[in-house]
Amino acid sequence: MAGRPPSVVELRGARKRFGALEAVKGVDLAIGAGELVALLGPNGAGKTTSISLMLGLRRPTAGEARLFGLDPSDRRARSRCGVMLQESGTTGVLTVTEVVNLFRAYYPSPLPAARAIALAGLDDKARARIGTLSGGERQRLYFALAVCGDPEALFLDEPTVGMDVEARRGVLESIRALSGAGKTIVLTTHYLEEADQLAHRVVVIDHGVVIADATPSEIKARIPSKRVNFRPETAVGASTFSGLPVQSLEITDHRVHLLSHEPETVLRGLFERGVVIRDLEVTGADLEEAFLSMTRRP
């Protein structure tokens, strides 16, 4: 690997313990320049702690975190990063433009303030005081603060939480454009759909460990994204489903519950096998239960 440029972010055997709880249990992860990586996992999986380790907001209990090859708290490393965090606020009495200009002063060669505000879709709120913004607008302000320094790397912890559909689409578009311009982007999400739309690479974290690190299509093939629920007219057994893409199967009280990433194939297979289906429900699978099935069947 000699001569390979250093990774933008690197976690080596990183662990983080908070008292009795070990939130991150040994994560190895290297993210190169220009990558757009989604850290995907249910709430409490260790995504935010992992990002905090990458940024030096938390110190690993064991292992190591590097940012641009430096200690993450080094100002030279921080100056190359824009950050959007969950659960962080800013005082309400400044206007959007004022606080964007403040954050621009932290960076060596920032974007024009108006450009950063436009990327976040906040043009019509540029003169508004932060205290008057809605939750979604505030979230967009944090996005503007993350991008205003024109940093090489962006760390976005749940960037679209609390945004309405339109705002969300705008921000996702901006993220795509920034990635297209060569920025390294690390974002966390608990929406598989969002990771799929954006990322080149999806790192699935659950219970503090990386359980998958692959392209979105590979991940989608492994994560059962739909929950199928029906009542068969005559009783069926597990053997009825053999050979079908079913990740988790439960048959109780004349009802069948299963998880699959290809519900259409499963249903076609069942029709072909002569199973008569009543009360069919197909819903999006909860990521939490999907991961549970993944860890159960490696």
Binding site: L55, L57, R58, R59, R75, R76, R78, S79, R80, C81, V83, L85, E87, S88, G89, T90, T91, V93, L94, E98, V99, N101, L102, F103, A105, Y106, Y107, P108, S109, Y142, L145, G149, F155
Partner: protein, 256 residues
């Protein structure tokens, strides 16, 4: 260039900190207007009296309320300001930014110094214009410089309160500490009108020695300047140690 110049950060941060304080009436009114209101009640009625030793009571009380005003900017500004920002988790976002924590702290100190000078100028101008109190400009300048330079222990006290108490408790804690401290140091009323135990206690309080800096500029001090400075240095050490202890406790909980 791999990082933004620190001076540019400091300037931008100080500018925003001043705007933030100015736009919060709880801060700007309390610190810029309240000392004038207090002086109107306690000082104006006796402003024309001149003591036997030639010291104008009006000027003496302007110096007292000046000391009260600067201490209040420091104790309330840092105490309530820092506690509020911790409550809103501003610190987390700032911590992830390239702004060094020391520059942020320096910007807050500069902001407090600016407000202190403004509070003193407003108060003294009010005394001159409305109270008809006259001293040579050099005396007023000496009072301002001494009170600004000597405010260090109250910066420490403010930070200690800010890091120690939560956002809801901070205003109460700051008031409970600072108001009795001011009364007991003779800032509002002459000490000889206070209960005997307060008169005995006063010479051990930081505000008492702080006000001496201003009183002695009028030739009305009760102790040598170096004694006041020594006391203030001691209190600075104690309060800063408390502030650093609370700060480190917070640091371990949030960023370790």
């Amino acid at each position: 260039m791999t990082a933004a110049p620190l001076l540019r950060m400091l300037f931008a941060q100080t500018r925003c900190e001043i705007l933030m304080r100015w736009r919060v009436p709880a801060f700007s009114l309390t610190n810029l207007v309240l000392p004038i209101v207090f002086f109107t009640f306690f000082g104006l009625p006796v402003a024309h009296i001149v003591r036997g030793d030639g010291v104008s009571i009006g000027a003496y009380l302007l110096a007292s309320f000046g000391a009260y005003a600067v201490g209040s900017v420091m104790v309330y500004g840092f105490g309530i300001g820092v506690a509020n920002e911790r409550g809103m988790k501003v610190d987390r976002l700032m911590r992830a930014s390239p702004l060094p924590p020391l520059v942020l702290m320096l910007a807050k100190v500069l902001t407090a110094l600016v407000f202190s000078v403004v509070a003193l100028i407003l108060l003294i101008s009010y005394g001159i214009v409305v109270g008809g109190i006259h001293e040579p400009p050099g005396v007023w300048a000496a009072i301002i410089v001494r009170l600004v330079v000597g405010s260090l222990p109250f910066i420490g006290l403010g930070f200690a309160i800010g890091y120690w108490s939560g956002p809801h408790a901070a205003p109460a804690v700051a008031n409970l500490i600072y108001l009795p401290l001011s009364f007991a140091s003779g800032l509002f009323m002459p000490l000889n009108q206070m209960p005997a135990f307060i008169q005995k206690l006063a010479p051990y309080l930081p505000s008492y020695h702080y006000a001496q800096l201003a009183w002695s500029a009028l030739g009305a001090g009760h102790e040598a300047l170096w004694v006041s400075l020594l006391w203030l240095a001691g209190y600075t050490a104690v309060f800063l140690a408390l502030a650093i202890r609370s700060y480190k406790r917070e640091e371990r909980a949030k960023f370790a």
